[in-house]
Structures are given as structure tokens and as C-alpha cells.
């Protein structure tokens, strides 16, 4: 069975600075896969390559067998990949509802806008309460929910989440990971990139360890949780 998302030897960087070196990975439909690693490992770069914000310099990647590396970001969204960016990146001067509306910009998504937004509001009742509020005035956790909700509006085949716990209070971080579980239950495929190794290994099926732009380890989450290297370097055990 061919995977939903496959990356094959992807290298990418910024100008003369190379950030990723021949990264290969895959995500099966229905899975939740994590990519963990320290600051500066290339995790965000990886997300940006997949969503089309950054051009890769070598290699390729495909969704359901269809090669995407030459496409601009908006076409990749059309193909079915939604990216929740690092630091949320909401449209601060638009309301919550308008942000969600932007998530449904695609023609296919627009048609189902009302059902879609109802579903998102069910998932995030707090957003419904604040639907008319300017997104820039939300709390950190609420913003994260809005950003995730916005990405879900296009009913993506693959949801990319870039460091969803960044900058959030521990209690809120818990809520976010509960959300990830919930989203999985709804049937979404998720690729999540995180520094918070302990928490993310609780919610994903498999994970990759990315260090200095290369995949160092890979395996089922359960195994990685007991891996000595991971335990000493990242779990402080």
C-alpha cells in the first residue's frame, strides 16, 4: 500500500545555508506521525517544504503518489495538505470567523462552509463564543485553536502542525495535545513537528528524530519512548 505522503531525499535550505539533508519519510493514511528534534534541527523547514512555502533544492515528495515539489503553496493546499504554521500566524485584524472563512477559501471548501464551520465550532466551543472577536485579541491557547480550526476548514487529507505547543502555558499545552487526539479520532492524518518530545510521543503512532537536518532515528512511538538515546537526550531520564 503506498503511503499518503512520501518524502524522498529532500534537501532544502536558505540561500547558502543548508537546513535539510536528504530527508526521507512517509505518513500512512489515518496515522499520526511526529517529527521531533532540538531547536534548529530543520523541523520548521521540513514543514515549509511540504506545504510549499519553501522550494526544496533536491529530492521530491508526493501526496497519494502525485508529485508536489514543483507546485506553489496554494496548489498544494488544493491537493489536500493544510499547514498550521509555527506561531499560529492568524490574521490579527480579522475576526475568528473571518479567519475560519479564509481557511475555506478553496472552491471545494466554500461549498461546504456552513457545515464545516459548525463542525469546527463543535470541536472548539470557545471559538464559537468568540466568533466575532478579532483574532489578535485571543489568548495564546485560543489562537492555537483558531489556527488549527482554520486549517481544518479545508478538510485536508493531511494536516501539518508546526510546534503547536510553542509559547503556551503547560495547562494549555495539555489541551492542545488532547485536541490532536480528538482530531485523529475524527479520522484526520496528522504530521506533527514538536520540540516537546514527551507529550508528542503520547499522541502519535510513529515518530522520526531529526537532528541537524538529518533523520537519526525512526520507529513506533512506543519503542522510541523506551529508546535510551531519546530518553537521555530528550526526556531527561
Amino acid at each position: 500500500m503506498s503511503a499518503l505522503l512520501t518524502l524522498d531525499g529532500v534537501s532544502a535550505g536558505y540561500g547558502s545555508f543548508a537546513a535539510l539533508f536528504e530527508v526521507s519519510l512517509k505518513v500512512e493514511a489515518g496515522e499520526a506521525v511526529g517529527v521531533v528534534g532540538p531547536n534548529g534541527a530543520g523541523k520548521t523547514t521540513l514543514m515549509r517544504v511540504i506545504s510549499g512555502l519553501l522550494r526544496l533544492s533536491a529530492g521530491s515528495f508526493a501526496l497519494e503518489g502525485r508529485r508536489l515539489e514543483q507546485l506553489p503553496a496554494y496548489r498544494i493546499v488544493e491537493a489536500g495538505i493544510a499547514h498550521v504554521p509555527e506561531n499560529r500566524r492568524l490574521f490579527g485584524r480579522l475576526t475568528v470567523e473571518e479567519n475560519l472563512r479564509m481557511g475555506a477559501f478553496l472552491a471545494a471548501a466554500r461549498r461546504h462552509f456552513s457545515e464545516r464551520i459548525q463542525w469546527v465550532y463543535e470541536l472548539f466551543p470557545r471559538l464559537k463564543e468568540r466568533s466575532g472577536q478579532l483574532a489578535g485579541t485571543l489568548s495564546g491557547g485560543e489562537q492555537q485553536m483558531c489556527a488549527i480550526g482554520r486549517a481544518l476548514m479545508s478538510e485536508p487529507k493531511l494536516l501539518l502542525m508546526d510546534e503547536p505547543s510553542a509559547g503556551l502555558a503547560p495547562l494549555v499545552v495539555e489541551q492542545v495535545f488532547e485536541l490532536v487526539k480528538r482530531i485523529r479520532q475524527e479520522g484526520f492524518t496528522v504530521l506533527i513537528v514538536e520540540q516537546n518530545v514527551g507529550q508528542v510521543l503520547e499522541v502519535v503512532d510513529r515518530a522520526y528524530l531529526l537532528e541537524a537536518g538529518r533523520i537519526k532515528l525512526a520507529g513506533p512511538a512506543a519503542e522510541l519512548k523506551h529508546n535510551d538515546f531519546i530518553r537521555s537526550s530528550y526526556l531527561g531520564l
Partner: protein, 331 residues
């Protein structure tokens, strides 16, 4: 000053001295180049630090009209009139600048306020037509050749005066460039709040450089009026001339000492060249090309002609760096 230094200064000194020996027409060009270089250099004192003024015509106008009015009505010699005009220009700049800087009006907004200011001065000049002649213009009362009245029909003599003023402008630029203010102003241009946080008196630095810039612009305006012996609000103030100042400074390169001067040479030279080429046949053709070139400059050479040379020179001298990251993306 050792011999080597002296020799290094010879070629530029020769170039500066050349107009003394050229025929009238070239002297005329030289005088204009030097006066406008002064104006562009003084604009660039603000422009290089991200204080983009679209209203320097206001100060040019004050510099032009005040000495002339003082001379015509009260026999005040331009030697007094010009400093008075410079003081007035600085006062005007402070009156508008102080609240602006205090209230952190920056960027677009600052540019628009200066635009409004330029227009106000132009309109005041036109409205006071009984005194200033309005749109028809006015002339200083002619007394023939007189150093007292700063009326020097002999272009060589005027060139000497203009050259002296230009040198003052360049000297001031040097002083700012080498002084501590430069670092402070660059920091302010980069991030005002951060600069304030490390103890820079943002307000004071901005006011200082504005005062210098506007005073020198007024000087340039005064000299231009004395040279042309004719003033008119459209030549001396308003949006048109304000923009002209901005473009020439950008075209030459507002970050380097001689950039604005190069801008003056380029624009005046180009204008004259095109005028000679097209004559009166296609009025507007010259300026059309000029305008198009300016667009091209901003897009392809934002650091101006001088910047282009600097880029070429460094590319020839040093091979491109390899491996070292220039910007680290946030991970």
C-alpha cells in the same frame, strides 16, 4: 599632511577647479550641479537614516524667499538674510518635527506630513502674492555686481561661492558619518524602540539631524535664488521640486558621501543631454525618459549609482562566501 595624501587630493581638486577655466555654458552647469549637490546631500542626511521627507521644497523655498524679501524690502544683505532664512527653516522644521518625533510619527505618515508641509509653504508663497509675486514669481532687486548683495553675474565668482557651500555640506556629512550620531541614527532607523531601550535619546538625535538637513537645504535654496536672480514657487518649493530632490538623491546613492553629488551630476547631465538631443521639439520627452529611468533605478539599483559601483568593486575584489550561513531561520 604627507606627500601621499596631497597627491591623492590632486585629481578631485583638479575636477573641482576645472569649471573656473571652462566657457560660460559649462560654468552654468557646474554652478547648478554644485548647488543641487548641496541640496541633495542635505536631504540625504535625513534620508539615509530612514527619515524620508517629501517636503524639502518647503525649506528650499524658505531659503530662497526670505533673503530676497529682506533684501527687496529692507535692504538687508543676503549675508545676514541667508542665516536668518536658515534659522527660520530650522524653526519651521522643529515646529513640525518636534511633535512628529515625540508622538512617533514615522514611515508613511511622516512622509505625508512632510508632503503637507511642502504644500503649505508653496500655498503660503502663492497666497502672499502681494509680497511674493505669487505664481508669477519675483526677482531680487538688481544692483549689478556686488558682493554685499551677493549678486555675482560673473559665473566664476558664483561658482566659488557655491563650491564653498558645497564643501561645507560635505564636511558636515563627514562629521556626521564619522561621529557617534551615525550609529545612534542608524539604530533609530532600524528599530526606534530598541534604540530608546538602550539609552539613545531618539528625539534629540532626530531633531539634530533634521536641523542640519533643513538648514543646509535652505542655504542651497538661497544660493539658487541668488544665482538665478528669479524666484517662483514652482521652482523653489512644492511637490515637484521635493520629489526631484528625493529622486536625485536616491539615483546617486544617499548612503555615501558623494552619492548625492553623483545624483546631481547624473540628473542635471541627463536633463541637459536630453534637452540638447530633443530640443524644443518634444517637450516632455526628456522628462519622460527621466521618469522611466528613475523607476528602473529604484527597482534595480536602490543604493544608487554609487551603490552599483560599490557592489561591482567588492565582487571583483572578494570571491563570494561559501558555507557560512547569512541568516539563520527560526526553528
Amino acid at each position: 599632511m604627507n606627500a601621499q595624501r596631497l597627491i591623492a587630493y590632486l585629481p578631485p581638486a583638479a575636477i573641482l577647479a576645472l569649471p573656473f577655466f571652462l566657457p560660460n555654458y559649462y560654468q552654468h552647469l557646474a554652478v547648478q550641479i554644485v548647488i543641487w549637490s548641496l541640496v541633495y546631500t542635505s536631504w540625504s542626511l535625513m534620508g539615509r537614516f530612514r527619515l524620508t521627507s517629501l517636503g524639502h521644497g518647503a525649506f528650499l523655498g524658505v531659503g530662497a524667499y526670505v533673503p530676497t524679501l529682506l533684501w527687496n524690502n529692507w535692504n538687508v544683505s543676503p549675508w545676514l538674510g541667508i542665516p536668518a532664512a536658515m534659522a527660520l527653516a530650522v524653526t519651521l522644521a522643529m515646529v513640525v518635527g518636534y511633535p512628529c518625533f515625540r508622538l512617533k510619527v514615522v514611515g508613511h505618515y511622516f512622509a505625508l506630513v512632510t508632503l503637507a508641509l511642502g504644500q503649505v509653504v508653496l500655498l503660503v508663497i502663492v497666497a502672499a502674492r502681494d509680497v511674493t509675486g505669487g505664481s508669477l514669481g519675483m526677482t531680487p532687486r538688481i544692483v549689478g555686481h556686488s558682493w554685499y548683495a551677493l549678486q555675482l553675474p560673473d559665473k566664476s565668482e558664483f561658482y566659488a561661492v557655491a563650491l564653498a557651500a558645497w564643501l561645507i555640506g560635505i564636511a558636515i556629512w563627514f562629521r556626521v558619518d564619522r561621529g557617534m550620531e551615525r550609529a545612534a541614527l542608524e539604530a533609530i532607523g532600524e528599530d526606534e524602540d530598541a534604540a530608546a531601550a538602550i539609552g539613545i535619546d531618539v528625539l534629540r538625535e532626530k531633531l539634530k539631524i533634521t536641523a542640519l538637513s533643513t538648514a543646509l537645504t535652505a542655504l542651497g535654496g538661497a544660493l539658487y535664488a541668488q544665482y538665478l536672480m528669479y524666484l517662483n514657487p514652482d521652482i523653489m518649493s512644492g511637490v515637484g521640486v521635493s520629489f526631484q530632490i528625493v529622486f536625485a538623491s536616491i539615483a546617486g546613492g544617499m548612503y555615501s558621501t558623494l552619492g548625492p553629488t553623483v545624483g546631481a551630476v547624473f540628473t542635471i547631465g541627463l536633463n541637459e543631454g536630453l534637452r540638447v538631443l530633443f530640443g524644443t521639439h518634444f517637450i516632455g520627452a526628456a522628462n519622460t525618459i527621466y521618469g522611466a529611468l528613475l523607476v528602473v533605478f529604484i527597482i534595480f539599483m536602490p543604493r544608487g549609482i554609487v551603490g552599483l559601483f560599490e557592489k561591482l568593486r567588492t565582487r571583483v575584489q572578494t570571491p563570494p562566501p561559501s558555507g557560512a550561513p547569512d541568516t539563520q531561520p527560526a526553528e
